[in-house]
Symmetry: C2
Subunit: 386 residues, 2 copies
Amino acid sequence: MNNFELYVPTKLVFGEGEIKKLTDLVPKGKKVLMLYGGGSIKKNGVYDQVTEALSSHKVVEFSGIEANPQYQTLLKALEIIKNENIGFLLAVGGGSVIDGTKFLSSAVLYEGDTPWDILANRIRTYEGLPFGTVLTLPATGSEMNSGAVVSRKETQEKLTMGGPGLFPQFSICDPTVIRSLPQRQLANGVADAYTHVMEQYMTYPANAFLQDRISEGILQTLIEVAPKVLTDPNDYVAASNFMWSCTMALNSYIQKGVPTDWSVHMIAHELTAHYGIDHARTLAIILPSAYTKKFDQKKEKLAQYAERVFNIQTGTVEEKAKVAIQKTEEFFHSLGIKTKLSDYTDNYQGFGDTVAENLKAHGMVKLGEHRDITPEVAAEIVEMAY
Amino acid sequence: MNNFELYVPTKLVFGEGEIKKLTDLVPKGKKVLMLYGGGSIKKNGVYDQVTEALSSHKVVEFSGIEANPQYQTLLKALEIIKNENIGFLLAVGGGSVIDGTKFLSSAVLYEGDTPWDILANRIRTYEGLPFGTVLTLPATGSEMNSGAVVSRKETQEKLTMGGPGLFPQFSICDPTVIRSLPQRQLANGVADAYTHVMEQYMTYPANAFLQDRISEGILQTLIEVAPKVLTDPNDYVAASNFMWSCTMALNSYIQKGVPTDWSVHMIAHELTAHYGIDHARTLAIILPSAYTKKFDQKKEKLAQYAERVFNIQTGTVEEKAKVAIQKTEEFFHSLGIKTKLSDYTDNYQGFGDTVAENLKAHGMVKLGEHRDITPEVAAEIVEMAY
């Protein structure tokens, strides 16, 4: 086990009917900017619950934060924060709205030339404007961590940021919000959380027995509840275990003391930036070929995963490891998620080289737990996923 | 899954050689009271590491906090805190030193008549004097939670306290500290952590799939590393997984959203208060008879535990559940811990009634996840453990 520091100060408020606690969670005496997306919260009742809970607070609204939150959109919100003297941000949405809010939390206190520097120059945020969240889409785990991803359309960039100043002060997770979600988003949420675990777990044996067990427990839970989540989002047992698994998949606990990969995400981000394919689906496209390409380095851990998560007890390490990749791809298929780039676009020839160029441009030339996935290797992984 | 709030703001600093980070973790400009126990830290090198890291801080020392920290001892430390205008507490020790420090953190700001009220009247602490810890004995989990247990010899009382103001600001966990621990304390640590998980896990099925998986993962890890910890505490892999399991066993995560029992602890505390038997050993005495007494209520979960932790796949629910209790007792025996009260004292006749009287005196008349363990039932459980 590697040395680690663990610090997760977000207060999580979990369960049906908890949105009303906003009244006490959001500080009084500060002007609040409530941020949300395309307006689905006005159809599913969340908007009404939030505004009722905040009826005695001063609240300004900003809507229209899109999936893969766009820098240009967020700059408009930044203007409002400065002009209106906003003292607290409330994100009501999924990972995109929360990530956008994290960017704003950082940007409003940033003193450099342009807030894009925070992303382009990977500037860590040690202090941000305080914010809380009401989660409407379990998937990214952004509600209980300090990372964010922001996109910029005109340059086709999708970059990450973070720092200890970017934890939500609180996050309210009411599992009943999934009832109104389209099946496509539910499937994406499961695949996203599943891949988050895999990025932290599927490396090489690192003698972190407990971290492995917890990761396997999240994967097993997601596999158990996914069919119920997709067929009956009113099933509260499935919904609550799904939502809690998504949070635990990326709230730091399983990444501490272990090597992590994250190459699947870094390569997959390029597919969203270029083709606009849903984030979760780009992960499902890249993961199988990434693990096939790095098979020799990952086979021991893949075999452990086969044994413990899929109960494959026979065969050699190599055989078990191959079954593990196959079972993972089958799990994505069971969610209705296709795992080849050609399932999403006809215009894929040469895209491996494009990814390689983009990774170079962003300085991401050594990916994976061994830092040996060069842009050229990434290109091969993309080509294997055509 | 039940609704829950989760808030664990302690910064955990984990790994070999991390004690040196105290230099930056302990605030400068405040007078520090360093609290420790009987002086074992002067033999194992921890004292030297701490004082070196704090060589530019103003530090006062208080030693002599005993196992099951005594109220009378702590009152002496309280005097020093007030007289010396101490601004930060640093606990260097195991659960007893940390629990004693939590009491002091609360007591110094308490404005009532006598600080014993905090325990006797179960007053929750919302603000305490800031403190950090250096853990020297993995067991209680006190390094990453906000609870404490304090004893009072003259009344043979052992009572609990807590509140959101009592989280350590940081805790440093260096697994190499176990190298100098006597085998008895190592065995106690494993049994203590194991029972902490059981108190939160072994109730009834509550549709908290992920919490169950994490609990089972901690139990499996403890079972895996225990023999290595006892035979070779220099084994860093075993030591680090042991230490991290002890923290995760009682840092709130597995207790959220589920019913919890804690009757084993409440009954067992009486054995320590009366006979002075090691805390962990009293748990091992009470647990098997408590689960036997409440067999019908716990059998589904006992069977799940048998299947997943001990890989018992054949038999009825009842048969698996019985094997589960037996396997648990065997695990305690494998640690060299005996599980009958008569193994520790000849003077046990009538002690069941004494426990019943004491529980009544402390207002603990409804224990267990169903609140149906009356003092009379507790007496029976104690008698079954003779």
